[in-house]
């Protein structure tokens, strides 16, 4: 089936298999491999993208359902070589270790901040409950989000810089 999708502001038209997932479409049909596939079953959140303004698990959405949709994926976060504020905070806080969860985590956080620009620590924890990170232990991720939203004291930021 032929579908048209706008991804990060760019239009793509592809002929897709009707049983193809949105995750498979992004990675295999479009070649945008930033979005990751972990469990394929809604558990891990690695595949999170923003579809028509809502965070979804792209492994549980059909590509054909996205016909006409507007999507945001991790590839749209860095504009002209400049990291988005959330990406920048993740880098400074070492909220990335192996990086596998990061694209999904960042899209989830982006969606959270669009709904709630200054989430409390508890709201951040609750907001990312659908995203597993098996490396960082979440602490750095939570701090990165609090920093990106201007909620971290200067004393908490000592020693934080890119490596």
């Amino acid at each position: 089936m032929k579908i048209t999708v706008t991804i990060n502001g760019q239009k793509y038209q592809r002929d897709v298999q009707e049983s193809q997932t949105l995750l498979g479409f992004l990675r295999a049909d479009v070649g945008l491999t930033g979005t990751k596939g972990g469990c394929g079953a809604g558990e891990c959140g690695a595949c999170t993208v923003i579809m028509n303004g809502e965070a979804v698990n792209s492994c549980l959405v059909l590509a054909v359902e996205a016909d006409g949709a507007t999507l945001q994926t991790i590839e749209g976060e860095t504009v002209k070589g400049k990291l988005s504020p959330v990406q920048d905070a993740f880098a400074r806080h070492h909220a990335v270790q192996c990086g596998f969860c990061t694209p999904g985590m960042i899209m989830t956080v982006k969606d959270l901040l669009a709904r709630n620009p200054k989430p409390s620590r508890d709201e951040v924890i609750h907001g990312i409950e659908g995203n597993f990170c098996r490396c960082t232990g979440y602490q750095q991720i939570i701090e990165a989000v609090l920093d990106a939203t201007g909620q971290l004291k200067e004393s908490d930021k000592e020693g934080l810089k890119y490596v």
Partner: protein, 272 residues
């Protein structure tokens, strides 16, 4: 996806029913797809056709009428119910349970109706809906019928639905609207998890209604209790109604214990 299927997106109710009348036995309809696609991927379901209900107009209505009550259309995702001011005000226990269901991403897709049709013993929407005496509207080419939720779910992942039928909406009458109550769900972790056991309770000045999930093959609605009933009376009734099992999530003894613990806590809350 491991299994290949054809995708069907009807644009009218009649078209949907005609399709189901012919191909119903080889078809799976879906809205959120959060159960269906997990099942297809796991090899538990292998339909020839997958029909998107979201393309059918008229199934996405979430509305409240002072006489008819709350109407939750087949394609209303859990997030909408969770954020709806009327649901929060008049059917607070439904909103509470909606917030306990899965994750934010999944709630954006998962529907209340899909949760009921899946008929899992641990589905988060069923206990609160049972307390509020929810009715299920079922339709097909042959017409429509209304079945009480407590008769709709007949066993583990079993319902009264026929292959050519769909659930068009859930109707929650006003009988218990605005009453006190709560939903307590026990999970293995703080994050998202299916319930180990869950109890919903609502109380008016006349009755206390209690429903229990994950403690029997279907969610269980206990018989009505007078408002004066003690926690002990409710627990005694619950002991007779449930048949918990051991599984990967916990033992039957722990389930039985936590059902009683939750009844105690909820009873104290509605009596406060």
């Amino acid at each position: 996806m491991l299994h290949d299927f054809s995708y069907v997106a009807p644009t009218a109710v009649d078209e949907l029913f005609t399709f189901l009348a012919t191909h119903g036995t080889k078809t799976a309809v879906f809205s959120g797809g959060t159960d269906l696609f997990v099942n297809i991927r796991g090899g538990l379901s292998a339909p020839d056709y997958v029909v998107n209900l979201k393309s059918v107009p008229g199934l996405s209505d979430l509305s409240f009428d002072p006489k008819a009550g709350l109407s939750i259309g087949a394609c209303v995702p859990v997030t909408r119910v969770l954020n709806d001011p009327t649901v929060n005000k008049k059917y607070g226990v439904i909103a509470k349970a909606a917030g306990e269901l899965a994750t934010h991403q999944l709630r954006n897709r998962a529907t209340v109706v899909g949760n009921i049709v899946t008929a899992s013993p641990c589905g988060d929407m069923s206990s609160p809906l049972l307390c509020y005496d929810a009715q299920v509207e079922i339709a097909s080419a042959g017409g429509s019928r209304i079945v009480a939720l407590k008769e709709f779910i007949t066993g583990v992942k079993r319902t009264v639905l026929q292959p050519e039928e769909i659930v068009t909406r859930i109707i929650v009458p006003t009988t218990y609207a605005g009453t006190k109550g709560n939903y307590l769900k026990l999970k293995r972790i703080k994050g998202h998890d299916l319930g180990v056991v869950a109890v919903a309770m609502i109380a008016t000045s006349k009755v206390i209604r209690v429903a229990i999930s994950s403690a029997a093959p279907t969610p269980v609605l206990l018989p009505d209790f007078p408002a004066s009933a003690s926690a002990e009376t409710i627990k005694e009734s619950a002991r007779k109604a449930i048949s918990p099992i051991d599984d990967v999530r916990c033992t039957k003894e722990y389930r039985a214990f936590m059902v009683e613990e939750f009844i105690d806590r909820l009873h104290a809350e509605v009596k406060a």
